[in-house]
Symmetry: C2
Subunit: 414 residues, 2 copies
């Protein structure tokens, strides 16, 4: 019995075959019944790969597996299961990764360390790996270039809608594609937000450049969103480049950053795609009824602005006020103050929906409440904070905190 | 229409006159109607005082007032209003403090800077100070030594029960009393938790010693509790010593710490009283149905243990799981990992209700679920975390996160 889609849901974009990427999803019965819970993706020889992972100190076994496998920067396969995160499962967890990679590698005719693995779901239960390996041969046989939507659905847990995003980018006179899928709706916080995100391109890019661009893109997307301040043990973002598109060859590194210039549009499109997927995760925040954007300006530095934006985004009092459609800017002041960053009460300004309600440390006399009230009733809320101290700015996104969050998380495991 | 008391509420202790302290509460109509919202306390000549305040960078005007007034370490009066926090009110806020202190000082025949002020309630609205000063003469006329319960009720905002605690302490062959009142139920977080707490003793203790003992006591009580990770702009703990009791005189400071030895029992009783009041605040956490204690052992240091304990206590996923009576130790693992403190997944153990469910990085095979399930249905939940790394230990307290929290905070201001 699937829950109703989030009122903030967006539709899947048009997802077309590209880059020699083949996908399939199947019901392995790992935890869920009557829905796909296992996804396999096959990539052509020569595919490069990079990853960014949770900073949680108790990561799942698949995170450790991927970090080791990515040292060579190559990938031929990806196996993702939903329903069991294979976290805090000790030696059995590591063995499950070994077994999965070996089984997939045999089918894909590659080395086990060319198979990346991700798991999402309940923590602390041993992954029934035999169900997973039993399902792999049929999954492999079903691989097809047009199964993007199946893959996006197969990695969902408490998500209420599948998430994907596509972009085109130019590399010189060549055009390349990017396509990403993501899942995540709770246990979302800065320092790696979505639980799982996978992005493919048909460009030909060395792994080290992929890694640099991925880190930069994650920093302004997944690391700027928060649903509940909790950080998953499994957060994983992987970027694969299959090299099937025709575009000018990237020059060898010679210190001139010629490759960086050639990749400028690609990097911008990657950033845009990652932000799109990150915001889809917020839109599916557990119980979310409103998408909240927090713009901070005038901080002493960009880093300080980011901390303040996330302190506001993580404040349960701000999030419940917005759920109640209450333009309670006083709680924003409180949240700015608790960030621990430089702030001067008497230079601080707070606005909602583009109307400055408080300026220079006091309420704006007679500000127009009508547009603010109308804005609060909408689905997308904007909170502006100006510190009046410097030029640091940052934006963060979150969702409101509602009864739905309590419903979902008070009964998830049982 | 007062909300029903928290199911975790405790009764007021027996509160008797002592120390020459006189109190009164009145309806000033500052925000609430039909209930006392203004409290005045008069203390005899010679009373010493110390305070600890919020670290929020946007504190209310009364916090600044008290910090300045306490430089002399003397107090004769305290004025507290509920319903309006006088925060983010600019110059008008500071003038309201001046006006209040001057009016109270005239009635109490003392200097204005011997009057301490605290305000709690909504942020960002100008305090109608004329209603406050209009009520002061009658309030002064009503001062009496037996009005402790009235004072405890008069400082409440969203509290569902009044909070007080009493202790006896020995100083040499003399016996002294301590009595404290507190209010707070939301916007409660480490770095000053309860919004307001006032403690009196009839001992004769210099302000600097009061300050040292108060800081230590707050660190192991109010700074170890959290309801929602939000930090108030008004958090204030004040300690007054009226010097009316008979006990051996404290020796002058001579580097021997003779005074410290004489005050050992007093300091222990003060710590105990502050912890009692802090836990009453958690018991009144907005929407709280369960009191949660988190014991962390085996951390690399006490500081690290404290951070881990508070990360668990602040995790919405842990708090909603406990609300749902789900012994979801996997979420505890996640919260330990996100604290950013040294942790080794494979040495970590987690227990609930005294039963170790996970040990050394994996579930304990065949652990007895029955006592854990029974424990989860109770009002007081204990979570144990052992890092297996060192000897650092700490305890933190919080409450569960329920629909009640959303109800209260989604409609507080409107």
């Amino acid at each position: 019995m699937a829950p109703a889609p989030s009122p903030l849901a967006v539709a899947l974009p048009d997802l077309r075959p590209f880059g020699g990427i083949r996908l399939a999803a199947a019901e392995a019965g790992i935890r869920y019944q009557g829905r796909a819970d296992l996804v396999m993706v096959a990539m052509p020889e020569g595919t490069t790969a990079a990853g960014v992972f949770t900073r949680n100190k108790c990561p799942g076994a698949p995170v450790g597996w991927c970090q080791a496998a990515l040292k060579r920067g190559r990938a031929r396969g990806l196996v993702v299961n939903a329903g069991n995160a294979n976290v805090f499962t000790g030696r059995a967890g590591r063995e499950a990764c070994d077994t999965t990679a070996a089984a997939a590698a045999a089918l894909l005719d590659c080395r086990p360390d060319q198979v990346l693995i991700a798991s999402t779901g309940v923590i602390g239960e041993v992954l029934p790996v035999e169900r997973l390996t039993a399902a792999l041969p049929a999954l492999h046989a079903a691989l097809g270039e047009d199964r993007w939507a199946d893959a996006a659905r197969g990695i969902m847990t408490t998500d209420t809608f599948p998430k994907a995003s596509v972009r085109k980018a130019r590399i010189g006179d060549g055009e390349v594609l990017l396509c990403g899928i993501a899942k995540g709706s709770g246990m979302i916080a800065p320092d790696m937000a979505t639980m799982l995100c996978f992005v493919w391109t048909d460009a030909k890019i060395p792994a080290d450049l992929l890694s640099t661009m991925l880190r930069a893109g994650v920093d302004t997307s997944f690391n700027r969103i928060t649903v509940d301040s909790d950080t998953s043990t499994s957060d994983t973002v992987l970027l694969f480049a299959t090299g099937q598109a025709a575009h000018p060859k990237l020059p060898k590194r010679d210190g001139s950053n010629a490759a960086g210039r050639l990749l400028r549009d690609f990097a911008a499109q990657l950033d845009s795609l990652l932000l799109d997927l990150a915001l889809q995760v917020v839109r599916d925040g557990e119980g979310a009824q409103k998408l909240i954007r927090i713009d901070v300006t005038g901080a002493v530095s960009a880093k300080s602005a980011r901390r303040i934006a996330l302190a506001v985004a993580n404040s349960p009092l701000v999030k419940t006020a917005i759920a109640g459609e209450d333009a309670n800017w006083g709680r924003v002041v409180m949240a700015v103050g608790k960030a621990g960053e430089p702030a001067d009460r008497d230079r601080l300004s707070v606005g909602i929906g583009g109307v400055w309600m408080a300026r220079d440390g006091a309420v704006v006399p007679g500000y127009d409440e009508a547009p603010v009230s109308a804005h609060m009733k909408g689905r997308e809320i904007t909170v502006s904070v100006d510190l009046g101290l410097g030029r640091g700015r940052a934006t963060a996104w979150t969702c409101d905190l509602t009864h739905g969050y309590i419903d979902i998380n008070g009964s998830y495991r049982s």
